[in-house]
Amino acid sequence: MATASSARQSQQWVGQPMQRREDARFLRGTGRYTDDVPHAFALHAAFVRSPIAFGVIRSIDVSPALEIPGVIAVLTSADLGHATLTGFLDRDEFIKTAMPILANERVRFVGEPLAIVIATSRYIAEDAIEAVSYEIDEFDPIVAMDDAQRTPQPIHDEAPDGVLVDLRMFNDDELEEVLATSHVVVDETFRSGRLQAAPMEGRGCLAEWIDRDDQLVVTVSTQLPHQVRTGIAQALGLAERQVRVIVPDVGGGFGFKAVLGREEVAVAAAARILRRPVRWAEDRLESLTASFQGREQEYTVRAGFTEDGVLTGLVADIRCNIGAYSAFPFTCGLEPIMAATEFLGVYKVPRYASRSRGIASNKPPSNAYRGVSRPQIVMVMEGLMDRAADRLGIDRVEIRRRNTIRAEDFPYSGPNGITYEPGSYLEALELCAAQVEAAGWRQRCEEAAPGFIRGIGIANFSERNAYGTATMGLRRMPMTPGFEVAHLAMDASGDVTLTSGTCSAGQGHETTFAQIVADRLGISPDRIQLRQGDTDLTSFGWGTFAGRSLVIGGGAAAVAARRLAVQLREVAAQLLSVDADDVELVNGHARVRGTDESISIDEIAKTVHFRSHLLTDREEYLLESHGSADPSGMFSNGCHAALVEIDAGTGAVQVLDYLVVEDCGVIVNPLVVDGQVRGGIAQGIGATLYEEASYSPDGQPLAGSFMSYLVPTAAEMPPISIHHLETPCYQTETGVKGMGEAGTIGAPAVILSALNDALRSRDAWLEHVPVTPADIQRLLELPTKMESS
């Protein structure tokens, strides 16, 4: 049983701001992303995509395209045997629907693939798209969630009301009475806009059937190598062994690649049918409008408070616009489940009830995007705190303080059925509030130039991560993610190869995993090579998502390293004729404690491989170990504060300054942690002020390029100062908690809080993101509270 104290063992590398081992190749331009993988003979795929949001396919005529020189094939759903992917939850509240690999009978969003063109170049493939003709009878599309009620034609016949998942996981018969007798009930509706993760590298793949290995080898940009293997094998009727998924460098994931897309399956199918290698690289239009989106949600919430601002109970009706299909493998239940179960955050809420629904629309399917529902639930909880504080005349920090789960409450069990392991919720709030005072932000608010208004926001929150099988099993996916297995092998030169089923998309696993293993083996991280992203190299794993990799994958590596260390000490003991308990591994040597007597680990490795006849007591040959980890899941926590400025003339918002207090347990590499925080905040600022995958009422995407989908640039980013607290995790051998999503989670809440502070003289509240300059201008046109009274 691992304990927090085991994280306190003597450590040399964990905690160091090591420059990343990945960096050199990325800086030289010799990193290898999917579309960089050379293949002299690969054909190129492009997709014929529906220009219609919702309709019945009457015909598709591919024959003119086949006349174009260089076009090898044009395949439709029938050519793929009407293959499908089905992401479902095995529960009564979930309606199971299939996603055809290529549209079959109906189209359900603009951009849905109707056919795949295979040609000798991408240029020719795109020419051929123009030559494919089709007839589609249009229905009125369902774009907004309320459209489903007034459109007779359901998106899926299985769900006539358009609701694919309807969860009432938490009920409380006495809640209504408690609200009725509460001093104040804050009754609000919050909305968040549809987003796209927009990693700089879009999706892509290269597929080739290899007769010698009886295998379809699919190189693909994904966060989930083994789940992509399972999905492709299922869709194409192959054994798992017959699909090898290779993941080279991944140019950003953010949940956008924690999925199997239909395009990758179509390319794999084409390679198998044609028995020729085929490659595809998504362009930005496809990425923004025809892949996966998320976060379009609405929360109608009532929260009761006592006169002193203490929460009495909360009821939430949550609706998520999940798009046209349920994604594989995490399903359209992902956002509704997370929103309902994790809603209460860092607060003690005595009574809680919620209904959360996933509603189908004629938009691309939703999938995870960094934080999933947490940016919204934190925005809602913090918005409720600000409203209650305003109505009760209590300071915004004070009302949070009165409701926050405290150190003495842990392990705390909430009405959401979750038991929280220790965190620094109140400490983070106090430190953040103190930092705001110390930074002189109140003074800076007073100093705004004429025509500008400033405000301060604060948001205290947690980030649940590293969900193991015990927690994931509650979701009832047909396959339950959660554990990881690591394998370590030391070669004859004393170098170590580590394999993990997690899969880095820029998080620096090659560095941080090596730091963890290095401490336990007493060698330099430079001697440890992480291999990942190849289903033939690693027996199984669940990939990288939800802050799980360094916690679970790194936790498994720590266990494997501890076991390998035992082997090294035993061999050293035999070679030095001492007891293994007296041997320690330090600075590349196995040393007899308290003496100068030692043998180098390189020498041990050489002996084990080349002179094993000297080792008479060993039952096993070589130096190899396995480790596994499967924590139930944990909460990191943090508190953010932001100073924002509104240009009253234009309604434009600039975030002037930003403070972070975060607690992710033991920090393996501060450079990486701070990088995750800053990058996450950039995405959160984008979600709050700039980005929206917007649609016209007839279902046409309005954000198809980076000219209309506005990813923040350097000019939009404030300085960010980061303060660390450390509450070690007791579920893992390393004490590490996940932390990849915190920045994205906190930013919308804190910026909205700051904007509402800036606009406090107006009798209006912002309760949606993204907030546009036009929204701000509308509020500024309202009379001030003084004028209206």
Binding site: G29, T30, D36
Partner: protein
């Protein structure tokens, strides 16, 4: 449309004679015809800047230039930066400041910054941030990128030949 033309291109000091379709982008010429895949394609409409290379010392979006337009020019790509083996001061500063995570946008930022620093030897941090806003990064939040470029600019200015 498909009548190919012969162009000459000097890339990282090496002269190439290439036959290309007029519609072939410089990005595809570099990546597919010359195998220089360090130049990445992020948007194909000139916004993200991942494909930024130096064409006759000027930063350009390789996705918006046709190969035929580059005929006779000298192109420098990320592969040309550390040609002698050791990483350049700018590349080292990027690593030190954690100015890259997934690395996909990094070559574009390096080439953008090299082009900028060649003509703007003593920029202030505000100007560097403004310049860096020409390209998109989705991982880092830009602080490390700006810090690395500012540090190298100052160092190069101090050490400049007088």
């Amino acid at each position: 449309m498909s009548e190919s033309r012969e162009i000459t291109l000097t890339v990282n000091g090496e002269r190439h004679l290439i036959v290309v379709e007029p519609r072939r982008t410089l990005a595809d010429v570099l990546r597919i015809d010359l195998g220089l895949t360090g130049t990445h394609v992020g948007c194909e409409h000139g916004i993200c800047g991942a494909c930024t290379v130096l064409m006759d010392d000027e930063p350009v979006r390789a996705c918006l230039i046709f190969g035929v337009q580059a005929d006779g020019s000298s192109v420098r790509t990320v592969e040309g930066l550390a040609a002698k083996g050791e990483l350049t001061d700018l590349q080292q500063a990027f690593s030190r400041h954690h100015a890259l995570q997934c690395g996909f946008c990094t070559p574009g930022f390096l080439m953008l910054a090299e082009g900028y620093l060649a003509t703007t030897p003593a920029p202030d941090p505000v100007a560097v941030r403004e310049m860096a806003s020409a390209n998109l990064c989705r991982c880092t939040g830009y602080q490390g990128i700006v810090d690395a470029i500012v540090e190298v600019a100052e160092h190069r200015f101090r050490e400049r030949p007088i």
